[in-house]
């Protein structure tokens, strides 16, 4: 769990850090930006629900797992057909 106060502070910190990175570090810029967004969204939702903290860990892990599911689905869709199936019975 992370407090709303810490989340907002870290979101600002990561946004500033992303702005300082070189364009060649696209992955890190995207990561820091996504993390800042997750922190801000989580803090907003927690406040709307009257809570002072939220579960960042589960949100981030679920996003990683979902990204894996989507990547694997794309790989499967673009993989060459099974030769045995393509040949027919």
């Amino acid at each position: 769990m992370i407090s709303v106060k810490d989340a907002r502070k870290k979101a600002k910190e990561f946004t500033a850090k992303a702005a300082k990175l070189d364009d060649s570090e696209a992955t890190d810029i995207a990561t820091l930006t996504a993390l800042a967004q997750a922190l801000t969204t989580g803090a907003d939702q927690a406040e709307a629900e009257g809570k002072d903290s939220f579960d960042l860990y589960t949100t981030a892990r679920d996003a990683a797992v979902q990204a894996g599911t989507e990547l694997q689905a794309t790989i499967d869709a673009m993989s060459p057909s099974d030769p045995a199936k393509a040949a027919g019975p």
Binding site: I2, T27, D28, L56, A60, R61, A67
Partner: protein
């Protein structure tokens, strides 16, 4: 003569056993390697709580998977290379999971209640695995 044949067989067996690992390494190397200093453990992971450090790892992992998916769709990488990214990121995800288990974070204090040192070691391992993955932009 028999000794020589046995020696050759032994080398052949070692080569076969090592082949998948070699291919795996080549697959990762083929897409380039980046140490990503801006995202080093020392600057980000140590900047906040263990939860934040782990969440940062999962987020970078998700970004790499999205990049690989986009690169695959536009034909910048092959299906095989995308599968290497998927496998490597899954290894990193498992490592971050192990780090979280080792930590056993107290939900209220945010502190590790189990083995903090092992949790940190695993966290570093997870980051090191991610640092080896770079999804190239060139077609």
């Amino acid at each position: 003569m028999k000794t020589l044949a046995a020696l050759i067989n032994t080398f052949a067996l070692i080569a076969v056993l090592a082949l998948p690992q070699l291919l795996y390494a080549v697959g990762l190397q083929g897409m380039g390697s980046s140490d990503t200093p801006g995202f080093a453990v020392g600057t980000l992971a140590s900047a906040g709580s263990f939860e934040l450090a782990t969440a940062a790892g999962y987020t970078k992992l998700a970004v790499l998977r999205h990049q690989a998916q986009a690169a695959l769709i536009r034909g910048a990488i092959t299906v095989k290379q995308a599968q290497v990214v998927e496998t490597a990121t899954q290894d990193a995800l498992n490592t971050f999971d192990q780090a979280a288990t080792a930590c056993g974070q107290d939900p209220h204090t945010g502190k590790c209640t189990r083995d903090k040192r092992r949790a940190n070691d695993l966290l570093k391992q997870g980051y090191a695995l991610l640092a080896k993955i770079h999804v190239g932009d060139s077609p």
